[in-house]
Subunit: 303 residues, 2 copies
Amino acid sequence: MTPAELDSLVAQIGEEILARIGGGLPARKGEGLNLPDQSCPGCQQRCPQTCVRNTKEIVAAGADRVSASERLTKIDPAIAALIDHTILKPEATRTDVLKVCREARQYGFASVCVNPYWVPMVRAELAGSPVKVCTVIGFPLGATSTEAKVAEAEICLRAGATELDMVINIGALRSGGHEAVKLDIQAVVKAAHQAGAIVKVILETALLDDHQKAVACSLAKLAGADFVKTSTGFGPAGASAHDVALMRAVVGPEMGVKASGGIRTLEDLKAMTAAGATRIGASASVKIVEATGAGAPSAHLHA
Amino acid sequence: MTPAELDSLVAQIGEEILARIGGGLPARKGEGLNLPDQSCPGCQQRCPQTCVRNTKEIVAAGADRVSASERLTKIDPAIAALIDHTILKPEATRTDVLKVCREARQYGFASVCVNPYWVPMVRAELAGSPVKVCTVIGFPLGATSTEAKVAEAEICLRAGATELDMVINIGALRSGGHEAVKLDIQAVVKAAHQAGAIVKVILETALLDDHQKAVACSLAKLAGADFVKTSTGFGPAGASAHDVALMRAVVGPEMGVKASGGIRTLEDLKAMTAAGATRIGASASVKIVEATGAGAPSAHLHA
């Protein structure tokens, strides 16, 4: 595809999306909380409702889980499994990051998401658990060179990361450099896929208009990325249901959509999954997932 | 030096600095605006006062300067020469960055400071001028690996950067990892010095207490860096005169101290140079330097 053809394609996609948004983006029907496609660990069958896992097995897995067993009997593991448990503030200490790892094992979060410096330690802490090691590339400005993003990605992959959340080149996108943005994503995706890892492409939606968001999603899809993601958490605003719905509409059902930035409650999370998000980035993950127990009606519980 | 010896040394330095701060850090006497050690371009001799350069030579150097000649006759080149004219916001477009380059040539700023993606373009735009190409490494979180910082630095140096503003590993510092912080700086300094470039070490003072700031300065000095710098501009606060004075007290007179973050007026700049800053990072550089003309008493002018 030539740069001119790419420009034409993204322009068409942008127009189509804007037309759809003009008519209102419907919430996807019948998907509820968009549960992962897996058997319910409580009832051992496909479970269309949110449900609570009997935590005996979990508790047996490690002494550190016993202390949390009271709370764990009440939480919804399908919600926990949607969350990248995240600590990206630069002032985070070793102790802070270790706490996040412990919580991720206890609650069964999808991943622990940390800055690259912490990847080797997090990998060691999560060894033997199903929790993934997620890190960030070109973060949070996205304004380094493609070569530097690839080098950083390769270093993180060697250190044990299996999920890379990379920031697009926002300035290049806003300057009309579609080809540069696509190649930037493509280079990181190539390095990740060769190592068996996945890539989530962060748009930083607060710095883009709707047309630019649609174009960025198209470029991420063309570049072979696995997810698009709303925000870094360091921009002027975080995820919105509008943006998640727009992104889902552009990328279609095959790709993941991760909502992140400002998601602090179970209600925030539900608004995002209802709009089409299949992964959630949060720091308040423990509070969010414990709310699934506190507020869950008994009809949702399986013995 | 063993890690234990290093820990002991930085602890001593920290204590000494804290004792000095307890007694109040005096402003350095007789240094006024801390002019660079060079002859006044107006009077061709060492000039203890701020002075204004006759801009005929400057205007003759390029057509693009003629349009600004009215304003340029009034500005203080010694102030302009202190400023890294900075554009680091991720949404900056090609047009925005080109404007900053044009302004830097017109006003004679020390450098243009941009994100790595823009370095090749900025190098081309500034070719033939004395304005340096400055970029940022591990920016703004400082939480990537040393290996990634070195890779990013080498890519930027090859692309034409001659000044690298790197962020320390804040989390490692706050976790007591002095050796890791020193080695991180040292590795970037080595790459830069081999290429004839200089390194400014960003502490992100708003995330550190005074003892940590003093330790970070000591580590930057031990690692052979050229400058310490207060802030990224993306943290919870920017430069303060207190922090600049503390940093100057630790690093001594040989190293540079760059104040950055929130410096928007000539008064802000003067407060920083009075406290010991020898370089200023600013985005409002044109406004700052034009204020040197507007408010300059005629006694400061040389014919």
